[in-house]
């Protein structure tokens, strides 16, 4: 990508070429940060739903002045001679093209588009409608799956919709697992679809990662700041899984973590002040018996409690049953900048067990919360049972 950005700079500057990017990612602000870091000044389009049908990235197409594809997988060497400097003939059959099935205009006119109009309109609501449109769009896509003729793209796109809702104020319990399960169903029917596979691997175990998905973020933010710019803010915090790469060599394993509160002396949360939700991202590579467990905690509505960011950080300790391992066993979540806050916090860790097996892991969370009415803060413990199912849904 940076190679093409540099190679095309003079052609973009003299107007001979337009570069258009299409990003196959769930979170558009992460691509904004990447583009800011790399200095990409050409238009980039956000395609979380994989509407283009791309099966792997990156891919490159040279499209001529008539809209005709002339070069698949071009190379910078010879690009000017073989493409830019050539005056292509218009196609014999004309170059008329149907309007795109998914368009922003569907927000105002959802009935347009024939039989698939409601589904396309739902896609438009996901892309342009914001959080207020998520429930309605998801209801349409769920209903659409009543049709057994639906191809796996419908499952993938429903998964994207659930994950969009996870990252919005409209979040519902279970959405993250629903997203992972929907993506898993899509991939099971089309295992060579690598855009879909990466969406699961982003949240999955290290043994299934081809590379660290967002390991570049810290370097990018530092480089942007060094230029005197303000880095694009990531509205959805990165999970540990998204920063992690392939498993480290065994000799690089850190010293064993020490269990906080091993004797259970910290006072128990008396009223479930937090909502706890678990999602399991399984290995997409088959029956290797690995998964990444994501535990999300957030202050419960009506409990009158908020995170105390000036107190002890939120920690999660995990105990694996016989025949299973958990790593790391101690996970710590950073606090927010404000003195108190109410955001969802996700901690994640690896599990390994017999392929296809189920288990219940013991765990406990320690956290400091403040009563919103009085400002009185308390450090408490919540004991948890985390169900992990390594079998495909």
């Amino acid at each position: 990508m940076p190679v093409w950005h540099e190679a095309t700079a003079p052609w973009r500057a003299d107007g001979r070429l337009v570069v258009v990017g299409v990003v196959q990612e769930q979170h558009r602000e992460r691509c904004r940060l990447y583009a800011q870091w790399r200095g990409f000044d050409w238009p980039i389009l956000w395609d979380p739903l994989n509407l283009t049908g791309a099966r792997a990235v990156p891919s490159f197409l040279g499209i001529d002045e008539h809209g005709v594809v002339r070069w698949n997988a071009p190379r910078p060497d010879g690009f000017a001679e073989r493409f830019l400097d050539v005056e292509f003939d218009p196609p014999a059959g004309g170059n008329a093209v149907a309007p795109p099935p998914v368009s922003r205009t569907l927000l105002a006119d959802p009935a347009r588009g024939g039989m698939l109009g409601p589904v396309h309109a739902a896609h438009a609501r996901l892309l342009w409608g914001g959080p207020a449109e998520l429930d309605g769009a998801i209801a349409v896509l769920e209903d659409d799956l009543d049709d057994p003729l639906r191809d796996p793209r419908a499952w993938f796109r429903l998964g994207v919709a659930y994950r969009l809702r996870v990252d919005s104020p409209a979040r519902r319990p279970g959405d993250f697992q629903r997203a992972l399960d929907a993506w898993g169903r899509a991939l099971a029917r089309d295992p060579d679809q690598y855009v879909w596979r990466r969406r699961i691997q982003q949240y999955g175990p290290r043994l299934d990662k081809p590379y660290p998905f967002y390991g570049w973020v810290a370097e990018a933010r530092a480089a942007i700041a060094a230029r005197g710019e303000t880095p694009v803010e990531l509205t959805v915090p990165l999970t540990g899984s998204e920063r992690a790469g392939a498993p480290p060599p065994a000799e690089a394993d850190p010293a064993p973590a020490v269990e906080p509160d091993p004797e259970g002396r910290v006072r128990r949360d008396p009223a479930d002040w937090l909502v706890v939700e678990t999602a399991v991202a399984r290995d997409t590579g088959g029956e290797r018996g690995g998964a990444r467990v994501h535990v999300t905690l957030r202050p419960r509505e009506g409990a009158g409690r908020a995170w105390n960011n000036e107190g002890e950080p939120l920690t999660l300790w995990v105990d694996a049953p016989e025949g299973w391992t958990a790593s790391p066993r101690l996970v710590v979540a950073p606090g927010a900048a404000a003195a108190t806050s109410r955001e969802a916090r996700t901690l994640d860790f690896e599990v390994a067990g017999p392929p296809g097996a189920r288990a219940e892991l013991g765990a406990h969370a320690l956290y400091s919360v403040c009563e919103e009415e009085t400002g009185r803060c308390t450090y408490v413990r919540r004991d948890l049972r985390l169900a992990v199912d390594l079998a495909a849904p």
Binding site: R16, I63, N95, R104
Partner: protein, 75 residues
């Protein structure tokens, strides 16, 4: 919806005959073919430009220009 109609009209049609439909391949991407039109939200990476996702770009609006279309991810 469509499947329900098919099943209703063709009694005895085995379920597996309609369930195992593979993903359709990408269309219109072959050399010498007109690229299908496409409309998606535009990401603006210009510092301070803001990004409410409201902007769009339609591929057909670029007719008359040579285009390098790059599909990518930030990882």
């Amino acid at each position: 919806m469509l499947a329900a109609l098919v099943l209703a009209l063709v009694p005895g049609l085995p379920q597996e005959a309609v369930v195992a439909k593979p993903a359709r391949p990408r269309v219109g991407r072959g050399l010498g073919e007109v690229h299908p039109d496409l409309e998606l939200p535009r990401i603006d990476a210009t510092p301070g430009a803001g990004d409410d996702g409201a902007g769009t770009l339609r591929l057909s609006a670029l007719r008359g220009r040579k285009v390098l279309l790059i599909e990518f991810a930030s990882w």
